[in-house]
């Protein structure tokens, strides 16, 4: 699933870390699960905004997943302030799962 960004190079670096952040229940990483909508980098004030969702609002695992995303991006970009923009519109649907994710779930 495509992740939108204003900086493709940085986005690739952020995603490399996010491939290791898992939904504990499903066992699939947040990128292949399609939870990450976009990552915006602001060079002037050194901030990063990750726009993402959860599979369900008030997901019991939500805090753990968002904390994992924050930690992962902060680790990759140590000089930046990272914040999350958690959105439920558009809501997550299983159509957002990547082909790799589908393969994983088909096992």
């Amino acid at each position: 699933m495509e992740v939108l960004s204003n900086n493709d190079l940085y986005c690739t670096a952020a995603l490399a870390g996010l491939y290791h952040v898992y939904d504990p229940e499903i066992g699939l990483n947040v990128v292949d699960l399609g939870l990450i909508y976009r990552i915006d980098f602001n060079e002037s004030d050194k901030t990063i905004i990750v726009t993402m969702t959860l599979t369900t609002q008030f997901c019991p695992m939500g805090e753990s997943i968002t904390e994992g995303v924050l930690q992962s991006v902060s680790h990759a970009f140590k000089d930046y302030k990272v914040s999350l923009n958690l959105v439920f519109d558009p809501a997550w649907t299983s159509d957002r799962i990547s082909e790799e994710g589908q393969e994983f779930l088909n096992r």
């Binding site: 229940e25 753990s64 924050l70």
Partner: protein
């Protein structure tokens, strides 16, 4: 540096403190119920209005089924209504009242002390249910999301209150005889309001949300859920009217068919969710939960037989088969499965929520899959042997079935303790 921008947007999930006590109480209630069943297999030959039958039934209905549903509801309510739990203190109060009231009620039934002990137990249980009901309504009101799942929860909680309040009236009727008839005459009404209104509505409402969620299914059909909701409530209301008017038994086929239609729609819903699942691998916990959907039809078959037998004024063991297949069958099967789909996540969240890394165990690693499988085999073996014992009135089969059920309860409690006492390796 970490800057969490989520605090204001990501609503916190319910604290484990509002959930865990219910699970632990429920686990020991199941264990004690199985011990009492083994010690009293002779009750199968007796009328169902027997002190020990009433004690075991209430321990299973309140201590096991209701306590775990109350606990899980505090955790799952936010998922269902898309809003946070309104009050943590009310959840704790609900536990304290229930945890003191249920033992009092069960002991007084066992000893058939219909006085102060039973009355105090019933009052405390009602206090607990009122706390829970207010919490559910306030949470739904706070979320402003009036979806079908929220309605299932609200209606089920209301029916629970009606059940326990009716129970309270029956308890006082033992000593004061202020109702027109003896308490035994109202037992069927009290039981069915609880079974259909509380357990059935709650399980249907929660399952139709959780089963597709755990299977990652594309299937969703709110229209069918509205039909299920309407059919169960209409079935129950019509049963109450028929009972109150004391109509002849053949009229009971009406509510029976309405509930049957609801269950067929529910089974169809679960099947579609299963068919359209994205996650192909179905774990053992989900399998036993899905099996419980099928196990719903066993009480229905026995209920049909009960309606026929009531006409002939006989067949007390079939009435007990009906009750047994509900409490030790359907309700127990779904709880055994769902405990290990919810409890490990509650503990995992408590231990690893903010410090998960690559070495962190997955929630499913917090319990023993092997113990779970042993428990499932012992449970199913015990359940079916006990059923054979009820139908044949054979005490050896009853005892063997009860032993197997007790062993499954021991393994269940063991696995629950393993999860609750999980220590981080850090």
């Amino acid at each position: 540096m970490l800057l969490s921008g989520t605090d204001s947007e990501l609503q916190q999930t319910t604290s484990y403190k509002a959930v865990l006590p219910f699970y632990i109480f429920a686990a020991f209630s199941f264990l004690i119920s199985c011990i009492l069943l083994l010690l009293n297999t002779g009750i199968i030959q007796e009328h169902y209005f027997h002190p020990k039958t009433l004690a075991i039934t209430h321990l299973m209905a309140l201590g096991w089924g209701t306590m775990i549903i109350l606990g899980a509801s505090h955790q799952l309510l936010p998922v269902l209504i898309e809003g946070k739990l309104d009050s943590y203190p009310l959840a704790i109060l609900s536990f304290i009242f229930a945890a003191t009231g249920i033992p009092l009620l069960v002991i007084s039934f066992y000893l058939f002390n219909t006085g102060l002990l039973m009355q105090a137990g019933a009052i405390l249980i009602n206090a607990s249910v009122i706390c829970f009901f207010l919490n559910v309504i306030a949470s739904i009101e706070g979320s402003k999301k009036y979806n079908v799942h929220a309605l299932f929860m609200a209606a089920a909680s209301l029916w629970l209150f009606i059940t326990t309040f009716f129970g309270l009236m029956l308890v006082f009727n033992f000593s004061r005889s202020w109702l027109p008839q003896n308490s035994i005459e109202y037992l069927s009404l009290h039981a069915h309001i609880g079974l259909a209104g509380w357990f059935l509505l709650m399980v249907l409402g929660v399952s139709t949300r959780l089963i597709p969620m755990f299977l990652i299914s594309k299937y969703s059909n709110p229209g069918i859920l509205w039909w299920i909701f309407g059919l169960v409530n209409t079935g129950l209301l019509s049963f109450i009217v028929l009972k109150t008017l004391q109509t002849s038994e053949e009229y009971y086929y009406g509510p029976f068919l309405l509930i049957l239609a609801a269950l067929l729609l529910f089974a169809g819903y679960c099947y579609q969710a299963y068919k359209e699942r994205i996650r192909k691998h179905v774990d053992e916990q989900m399998k036993i939960s899905l099996l419980s959907v099928g196990m719903l039809f066993l009480p229905l078959i026995s209920l049909l037989i009960v309606i026929v037998f009531i006409t002939e004024k006989s067949g007390s063991n079939i009435v007990l088969l009906y009750g047994f297949s509900i409490f030790f069958g359907w309700i127990t099967a779904i709880i055994l499965g769902m405990t290990f789909k919810t409890l490990p996540f509650i503990i995992w969240n408590k231990k690893y929520r903010t410090n998960a890394d690559i070495k962190t165990p997955a929630p499913k690693d917090l319990f023993s899959e092997k113990l779970f499988n042993i428990m499932a085999i012992l449970y199913l073996t015990g359940f079916f042997i006990f059923i054979a014992g009820i139908t044949s009135l054979n005490d050896i089969l009853l005892k063997s079935g009860a032993v197997s059920l007790l062993m499954s309860a021991i393994v269940y409690v063991w696995n629950v303790i393993k999860v609750v006492l999980h220590k981080t390796g850090k």
